[in-house]
Amino acid sequence: MTTQISRRTTPRINVWDLLARFREVGIIVFILLLGAVVTLRAPSFLTVNNFRDILMNISILAIVALGQTIVILTKGIDLSVSSMIGLVAMMVGFVMRQYPETPIFLIVLLGMALGTIAGSFNSIIITFGKVPPIIATLGTLSVYRGLVFFYSGGTWVNSFELPQSIKMLSKGRLFGVPNLILIALFISIIVYLFLKFTRTGRNIYAVGSNVEAAEYAGIRPQRIIFLVYLISGLLSGIGAVLWVSRFESAQTNTALGFELQTVTAAVIGGVSISGGVGTVTGVVLGAILLGIIQNALTLVRISPFWQLAAQGLLILIAVVLDKVIYTRVARN
């Protein structure tokens, strides 16, 4: 941007330094390498259809992982996202079943509102109750899941009970691109702008980087922390509506276990668990990498029994590589 100002920048351009400054480059390189290997073994990997499938599959993950990222930026964690998705999906599903003519934008708004309310419950426990985030959301993880069950009485909302409007929300296409992908892209851009170009967004980084200093600087950390769980709930709410739309059903176990995937996507995307570090591009790429790993393992016909192990191993490799790069840079 304003390069003439940074007079004392290190003139030597170093591969490690580049990798660290643009962490995303590392993920892209990893994706390309993986893609190359997979294409050699399974040419069908490199088709438009396959890529559309991969993107479809990770769209909801990316959206919710962005919420997770915002939370992790403040040193927190939101384990309850999966249950929030389950709860909101079920409630939205019920409304759609009962009132199939409801305009779709109202449904989306409803999902956002319900998600935000669920998130605000986390916020209250964490900010006013001073409960560590991991414990609070571990608790609400089972509480919200219990509510899903209580709410639905164990029943599901099935595909035929849902109106076409909700199904088209994700499946409709604009210029040949499924809406779901466009929605995910749109939300990513919004979150990017929010984190990069608003004071509140910057304050989230500040609070995650040093809470006390933030307080000295006139930021109210409690408000920021309140806000991030709200946002996580909001994005989970959107994720829930999209979930109903894409999977054409709302079940009692909707999104079960999804929370760890969102954390994984964030971590692979370079978000630091100790707060203050992480970018939207990184997380989106992290989600894409996860999607590609899943897709590729199936395509190259690795025995289904070993796929999970390969996935875990790749995650470990990604994290260790990142650390190696970081230490190399720190040493220079």
Binding site: S44, T47, F160, F247
Partner: protein
């Protein structure tokens, strides 16, 4: 200062615990405490009224439908059948639940097992405590139960799915794939085995089984697996999904990918979940027994066992209400079992007759 808050917390927790116990369903006449010493005794069959239907997990419409049948049977027999399951389809959770049911000295348990082997010790403990143990839908190994209520012969279920697949693939046959539930589900694996055998028959020589994948009875995973299948095998004709979650997910994947008419889905599913896909042509036909009937029969069998009407030996017969008379059979693999009947094939013509 600090102490005061701790006292507050103590009081709050106490109140909280009382609130917990208030969650208990209103039990009009809690049994008296003196009974404790007599618990060891085998429940008196004549007075036995409390039975439990245990699904793999709660919140699954397939089992919930079963409960409808079970309640119907309970009404006819004048007994109470409780519907209790674990939150997730997990063996250790189910064992914890069964232990608390055994502790209550219920008269009979009808269990859909999450793990064929892991539940054996628990099933044995229940039988030792004088509880009638039948399994339905998914069996415990013979050592861990009295009777298994078999929804349909393995042979029959496997065969009907291959038959449907053959019909859908057309006279020229083609590539087929199987999308199962978890790789550990006993009934799935048994069916797949049968299907592989049936496929070796000359009649089905034109069908080629290209891969077996696992969707873990998880909607998302099943969907992705189905998608991967037609990416990998462009000539794929039929996906057989012998699981209610998998079949719906596969049919949706086919619909979403605009492959209706090119790839067909069949397998085992429930009418409500499949209605849409039967009508849009992605899954023109599928099979299933009626879970309500299955649970209905299970309750009758459980009651017959608990009251001593049958003793769990081969050849005995008992009457199961509207379903008529059934015989206990012995099978080298399945052990003692009662067979419900042949699976029913649903298609566009008959699906609207069912609502479950």
């Amino acid at each position: 200062m600090k102490n005061r808050y701790l006292i507050i917390s103590l009081v709050t927790l106490i109140i909280f615990s009382f609130a917990l116990s208030a969650c208990a369903p209103a039990d009009p006449e809690p049994p008296v405490v003196e009974d404790v010493e007599e618990v060891e005794e085998v429940a008196d069959p004549a007075e036995c009224e409390n039975y439990v239907l245990v699904p793999k997990n709660l919140g699954n419409p397939y089992f919930d439908t079963g409960n409808v049948g079970a309640q119907e049977a309970a009404g006819e027999l004048g007994i109470t059948v409780l519907y209790q399951g674990s939150a997730t389809a997990d063996a250790s959770e189910q064992i914890t639940l069964l232990n608390s049911l055994i502790a209550q000295q219920v008269c009979g348990l009808a269990i859909s097992a999450n793990d064929e082997d892991a539940l054996v010790p628990t099933g044995q403990a229940a039988m030792e405590a004088g509880i009638a143990v039948v399994t339905w839908d998914s069996a415990i190994a013979p050592a861990g139960r009295d009777l298994h209520i078999n929804q349909a012969e393995l042979e029959g279920i496997g065969r009907v799915q291959i038959e449907m697949a053959s019909r859908l693939a057309g006279p020229d046959g083609g590539e087929i794939a199987i999308l199962s539930a978890t790789s550990t589900a006993p009934n799935q694996n048994a069916w797949i085995e049968v299907m592989e055998q049936v496929l070796t028959e000359p009649e089905y020589a034109n069908l080629e089984l290209v891969e077996i994948v696992y969707g873990d009875d998880d909607d998302t995973k099943s969907y992705n697996e189905a998608q991967a299948l037609f990416t990998k095998y462009p000539d794929l004709k039929v996906i057989i999904a012998p699981t209610t979650v998998g079949i719906a997910a596969s049919a949706r994947a086919v619909t979403d990918a605009d492959l209706i008419g090119q790839v067909f889905v069949t397998g085992l599913g429930t009418p409500n979940q499949m209605r849409e896909y039967v009508k849009n042509g992605s899954a023109p036909e599928f099979a299933l027994w009626n879970p309500a009937d299955l649970a209905y029969l299970s309750v009758y069998a459980m009651h017959a066992l608990a009251t001593g009407e049958i003793q769990a030996s081969a050849g005995e017969t008992f009457t199961a209400g509207r379903l008529g008379e059934y015989t206990v059979e012995d099978d080298p693999d399945l052990g003692l079992n009662v067979l419900l009947g042949a699976p029913f094939v649903y298609d566009a013509d008959n699906i609207d007759d069912f609502d479950w």
